[in-house]
C-alpha cells in the first residue's frame, strides 16, 4: 500500500510539475504580448510627435530655443492619459541634458531606464513606485544626424493589473486541471498497481516456498525470478545435505 502511494505521488508530482511549468511559460509569453500591445499604443502619438519635432528642426530653429516644443509635448500628454511624462534630451552619450519636458516623471522610471537589457538582477519594486514603460526615439535632423532623444514614460500599472488578472485566471485553470488529472490518474494507477501487489505477493510466496498460482508464474517475469531463486535454494540445500558428515 505504501509503495502504491509512493508511486502514485510521484506520478501526481510529475503532472503537477508539467502543468506548473506550462502555466509559468504561457504566462510569461502572454505578459510579453500584452506589454507589446500596450507599448504600441504609445507609438502612434510618439511617431507623430517625432515627425513634428523633426519638421521644426528642418525650419532651422534650434531645439533648445523652440518654444513650440513644450506645447507639442503637453498636447500629447493631454490627449494620451497613459503617458506620464515626455522628455526631449540632447544627444550626449553619457549625461543627457533635458532640453524640454512635460508631465511628471516618476522616480521608478529612472530605475526602469537604467535596468540593463540583460536584467542581471530583477529590479526590486519599492512600495509606492509607479511601474512604467520607458521608450526612446531618436530625433534626426535633415542631415541624418541624431540630435536629440525623445523619451516617453508611460504608465504600466494598467497593463500589470491586466496581467495579474490573467495570472489569477491561469492559476485557477491550472489548479482545476491539476485536480481533475489527479482525480482521473489516481484511481487508474491504483487499479493498475493492484496487479503489482499480486505479483509481489505471488513472488514472495514462491521465495518462501508456499504454493502459488501457476498462471501468475507463467506470465510474470518477477515470479519466474522468484521460482529461479527457489530452484537454486533447493539445489543448494540438497548439496549441503550431501556434503554434511551426518
Amino acid at each position: 500500500m505504501l509503495q502504491k502511494i509512493k508511486i502514485i505521488s510521484i506520478a501526481i508530482g510529475i503532472i503537477f510539475f508539467l502543468l506548473s511549468l506550462l502555466s509559468a511559460l504561457q504566462y510569461f509569453r502572454f505578459q510579453q504580448l500584452l506589454f507589446d500591445i500596450t507599448k504600441s499604443r504609445i507609438e502612434v502619438p510618439a511617431d507623430a510627435l517625432k515627425r513634428d519635432i523633426e519638421r521644426s528642426i528642418a525650419t532651422g530653429i534650434a531645439l533648445h530655443t523652440n518654444a513650440q516644443v513644450p506645447l507639442m509635448l503637453n498636447n500629447v500628454i493631454q490627449n494620451n492619459p497613459i503617458v506620464l511624462s515626455i522628455e526631449l534630451t540632447n544627444s550626449g552619450l553619457r549625461e543627457r541634458e533635458v532640453l524640454w519636458s512635460a508631465g511628471t516623471r516618476p522616480a521608478s522610471s529612472q530605475r526602469a531606464d537604467q535596468a540593463s537589457v540583460s536584467n542581471r538582477r530583477a529590479p526590486p519594486q519599492q512600495s509606492g513606485d509607479t511601474p512604467v514603460f520607458v521608450q526612446h526615439w531618436p530625433i534626426v535632423d535633415p542631415l541624418g544626424l541624431t540630435v536629440a532623444h525623445l523619451a516617453f514614460v508611460s504608465d504600466k500599472s494598467e497593463a500589470l493589473n491586466v496581467a495579474s488578472k490573467a495570472r489569477a485566471e491561469l492559476l485557477r485553470l491550472a489548479a482545476t486541471l491539476c485536480l481533475v488529472s489527479i482525480a482521473l490518474l489516481a484511481p487508474i494507477l491504483f487499479f493498475l498497481l493492484g496487479s503489482l501487489d499480486k505479483i509481489v505477493l505471488a513472488a514472495k510466496s514462491v521465495v518462501l516456498g508456499s504454493a502459488s498460482d501457476k498462471t501468475t508464474l507463467l506470465n510474470s517475469e518477477v515470479c519466474q525470478l522468484a521460482q529461479n531463486t527457489q530452484d537454486v535454494k533447493n539445489l543448494a540445500t540438497t548439496t549441503t545435505r550431501t556434503a554434511s558428515p551426518t
Binding site: I7, I10, A11, G13, I14, F17, L18, L19, L21, L22, S23, L25, Q26, F30, L33, L34, I37, T38, R41, V44, A48, N79, N80, S116, V117, S118, N119, R120, R121, A122, A159, V162, A166, E169, L170, L173, A174, L177, C178, L185, I188, L193, S195, I199, V200, A203, K204, V207, L208, S220, E221, V222, L225, N228, T229, V232, K233, A236, T240, A243
Partner: protein
C-alpha cells in the same frame, strides 16, 4: 531479467502506466493551453481596442489639422490613400470611417470586397467630438487570435519541455525502485547459482521489490553461515552492478546546468561588454564563446587521459568543482576578462564530466547491445537537457534575473554531484590495464587514426554528421527562416524539430538495438539521412522543406551519435587492445568538435558566395561526399566475408 519473455504482466503494467501518465499529462497540458488561450483572448481584446482608440484620435487630429488649414471637409484630397496608409501600418484595423455632422463620409475597408454591410467579425469603436468629424474604427476580431496562435506553437514546445523533464524524473524513480532492486536480485540469483561471492547490499533497496531482495539476502546470510566451511566463499563488493541508466539523471542535471545559460548568455555578455569594453563590443561578445570552444576542445582531447588517471569519480568531482566555480562566478562577474576565464572553467568541467560519464556508461556494459543502449542513454540524456534547459532558463531570468539563473545553474551542478556520490563505481581495470591507460594520448590517437576502419567511421559518420548539424542547424537555419520572415520565437520552435527527432530516434534505437551485423549499415544510413534531407530545398524553397531537412538530420544523428562510438569501441577492443575506452571516446568527441567548427566555416564560406538556400544544398553535397567514404568500410567488410 529475462528479456525474451514477451507480453509479461510487468511489461503490460509498465506500458499501461506509461500511457496513462502520458495521456493524462499531455491531455491536461493540451486542455490547459486551449482554455488559457480562450481566456487570454477575452483579456487582450479590450487592450487592442484601446490602441484602435488611439489610432482613431490620430486620424481625427490629422483631419482636424487639415480643416484648420482652411480645407473644407468635402474638399479633402487623398483621404482614401491616407486611410490606406493607416490600415497598412495597423494590421488589426479592418476599416476606418470619417463622418462629419452633415453626413458626408469617407470610408476605407481593408478588404475591398466588403461594403457597408455589418461584419460580424469586427468590433466597432467610435470617437465622437462636438465640432470635429466622428471617426469609427473597426477592429478585426481575428487579430487577437492571430497573435495568440503564435502561443500555440509555444505551448507545444513548452509541453514538450515539461514532459521531457518529467520523464527524466520518472526514469530516475524507475531506476531507483524497479531496475536497481531487480538488478540486485538477479545478481543475487547468479551468486546463488555460482556460489561466487559474499557481496554486500551497500545501498538501501527501495521500491515494491525491496522485500523480495531482503528475503533473498537473508537466505544468503543463512546459507553462508551454514556452509561457510564446506563451500569456499570469497569476499567481493556490492551485489548491484551499476548500469548506464544510473547516471542518466546525473548527466541530465549536469548538462541542464550548462544549457540553462544558452537563451540569455549573449545578452548577458553584451551588457557587461557595453559597460566595460575590453577590445570592441562585438569582439567581446564572441570572446567567451570562442574561449569556451577552445577549452572544451582541449578538455575533450585530454579528458580521456584524465579520467583514466584520476578515476571516474574523482574526474567527475573535479568537473563539478570547475563548473560550479565557473557558473557561480558568472553571477558576480563584472568584466569581459572574468567572463572569459570563468567560461574556460565551465568548458573544462563540461568536457571532462561528459567524458567521465560516457566512459562509465560504456564500461558498465557487458555486451555490445548493452554498450549501444548505454551510449543511447548518454545521447538521450544530453538531448533531453538541451531541449528543456533554454526555455526554463528564460523563465528564471524573467522572474529572478540573470545572476540568480547562474547561481541556480551552479546549484544544479552541485546537485548532480550529490546524486553521483550515491552511485557505486566498481573498479574496472586491474593494474595491468591501469598501466596501459598511462600510455600516451598521442600514441593512442595516432594508432586509432592509422586504423582505416576507425578513420572511415570518424570521417564518414562522426565528422560529417556534426558538420551538417553545426552548418545547417546552428548557422543556416536562423538565416533561412529570417528570409522566410519567421520571428525569433518561431526560429526557436524549429530547433525543437531536431531535438524531438533525435529523442524519438534514440528511443527507437534503445528499444530495437540493431544486431552486430546491422550496426554498421544502420550507422551509415543515419549518416546518409543526415545529409540527404537538405536536397528537398532544391525543389521546394519553403520552410516545410527546411523542417524536413532538420528532421532527417535529427533522425540520422540519433543513429550516428550512438552507433558510431559503439562501433569504434568494438574495433579498438579487437584491433587495438592497448587503447583504452577513455581515449577512444575522447577521439570521437574531438572529431565531433572539429566537425562543428568545420560546419560553421563551410556554411559561412558558402553564404559569402551564394544565397542561403544554395549554401544549404552545398553543405549537403560536402556531407554526402564525406559519407561516401563509408564505401571503404562496406568493401572491407565484404572482403572479410
Amino acid at each position: 531479467m529475462n528479456t525474451s519473455v514477451k507480453k509479461s504482466v510487468e511489461r503490460k503494467l509498465a506500458t499501461r502506466t506509461y500511457f496513462a501518465l502520458s495521456f493524462i499529462g499531455l491531455g491536461a497540458a493540451l486542455l490547459l493551453t486551449f482554455l488559457v488561450l480562450s481566456s487570454f483572448k477575452d483579456i487582450l481584446t479590450p487592450q487592442v481596442l484601446l490602441k484602435s482608440n488611439v489610432i482613431a484620435k490620430s486620424v481625427q487630429t490629422t483631419i482636424s489639422d487639415a480643416l484648420k488649414l482652411g480645407i473644407p471637409f468635402e474638399s479633402l484630397v487623398g483621404v482614401e490613400d491616407y486611410l490606406a496608409d493607416v490600415l497598412a501600418d495597423n494590421p488589426e484595423i479592418d476599416f476606418i470611417q470619417i463622418k462629419n455632422q452633415q453626413g458626408r463620409e469617407y470610408v476605407k475597408y481593408r478588404d475591398t470586397r466588403q461594403s457597408a454591410q455589418s461584419n460580424q467579425n469586427v468590433i466597432k469603436d467610435t470617437l465622437t467630438h462636438d465640432s470635429l468629424p466622428t471617426i469609427t474604427v473597426g477592429l478585426r476580431k481575428s487579430y487577437v487570435n492571430e497573435k495568440l496562435s503564435v502561443m500555440v506553437g509555444d505551448a507545444i514546445v513548452v509541453s514538450l519541455v515539461a514532459f521531457t523533464v518529467g520523464l527524466e524524473i520518472a526514469l530516475f524513480f524507475v531506476v531507483l525502485w524497479i531496475f536497481r532492486p531487480l538488478g540486485t536480485w538477479v545478481a543475487m540469483i547468479e551468486g546463488l547459482k555460482t556460489g561466487r561471492a559474499q557481496k554486500n547490499l551497500s545501498a538501501t533497496i527501495a521500491g515494491p521489490f525491496s522485500e523480495l531482495v531482503t528475503l533473498t539476502s537473508q537466505y544468503f546470510q543463512s546459507l553462508t553461515s551454514s556452509v561457510k566451511k564446506t563451500t569456499p566463499l570469497t569476499k567481493g563488493n556490492d551485489w548491484y552492478e551499476p548500469k548506464a541508466y544510473d547516471l542518466r539523471l546525473i548527466l541530465f542535471l549536469f548538462v541542464f546546468s550548462e544549457e540553462l545559460l544558452r537563451s540569455f548568455f549573449p545578452i548577458y555578455v553584451k551588457d557587461i561588454a557595453s559597460m566595460h569594453t575590453l577590445i570592441a563590443v562585438d569582439i567581446d561578445i564572441a570572446l567567451p564563446i570562442m574561449c569556451y570552444m577552445l577549452f572544451a576542445g582541449l578538455g575533450t582531447v585530454f579528458g580521456g587521459g584524465l579520467v583514466e588517471r584520476l578515476g571516474i569519480r574523482n574526474s567527475f568531482k573535479w568537473s563539478v568543482v570547475l563548473s560550479t566555480i565557473g557558473l557561480g562566478g558568472l553571477a558576480f562577474a563584472t568584466t569581459v576578462a572574468e567572463v572569459v576565464i570563468l567560461r574556460a572553467l565551465c568548458a573544462l568541467g563540461y568536457a571532462v564530466a561528459t567524458v567521465s560519464v560516457q566512459v562509465f556508461m560504456t564500461k558498465t556494459a557487458k555486451t555490445d547491445a548493452e554498450r549501444t543502449r548505454g551510449l543511447s542513454t548518454f545521447v538521450g540524456a544530453v538531448t533531453a537537457a538541451s531541449l528543456s534547459a533554454a526555455p526554463i532558463g528564460a523563465v528564471i531570468v524573467q522572474l529572478f534575473g540573470t545572476d540568480a539563473a547562474m547561481l541556480f545553474a551552479a546549484s544544479l551542478a552541485v546537485l548532480s554531484w550529490f546524486f553521483f556520490n550515491g552511485i557505486t563505481i566498481p573498479s574496472f581495470e586491474n593494474s595491468a590495464q591501469a598501466s596501459a591507460a598511462n600510455a600516451s594520448l598521442g600514441k593512442n590517437f595516432s594508432a586509432m587514426l592509422k586504423n582505416q576502419k576507425i578513420s572511415i567511421i570518424l570521417i564518414g559518420n562522426v565528422l560529417s554528421g556534426k558538420l551538417m548539424l553545426a552548418g545547417l542547424l546552428f548557422y543556416l537555419t536562423p538565416l533561412l527562416l529570417l528570409e522566410f520572415q519567421f520571428t525569433q520565437v518561431s526560429i526557436g520552435q524549429f530547433f525543437m524539430f531536431y531535438y524531438v527527432s533525435v529523442t524519438l530516434g534514440n528511443v527507437l534505437l534503445a528499444r530495437f538495438v540493431p544486431s552486430a551485423r546491422a550496426t554498421m549499415p544502420v550507422m551509415v544510413l543515419g549518416a546518409l539521412l543526415s545529409g540527404v534531407g537538405v536536397f528537398s530545398l532544391i525543389w521546394f524553397n519553403k520552410p516545410e522543406a527546411l523542417a524536413v531537412a532538420i528532421v532527417c538530420l535529427g533522425v540520422g544523428q540519433s543513429a550516428v551519435l550512438t552507433l558510431a562510438p559503439a562501433l569504434l569501441l568494438k574495433i579498438t577492443r579487437t584491433d587495438l587492445p592497448q587503447v583504452n575506452i577513455a581515449h577512444t571516446l575522447s577521439l570521437v568527441r574531438t572529431v565531433d568538435r572539429i566537425g562543428g567548427i568545420l560546419g560553421a566555416a563551410f556554411a559561412a564560406a558558402f553564404s559569402l558566395l551564394i544565397d542561403y538556400r544554395d549554401a544549404t544544398v552545398g553543405l549537403g553535397i560536402v556531407v554526402l561526399t564525406l559519407v561516401l567514404v563509408n564505401i571503404g568500410l562496406v568493401l572491407r567488410s565484404n572482403r572479410v566475408k
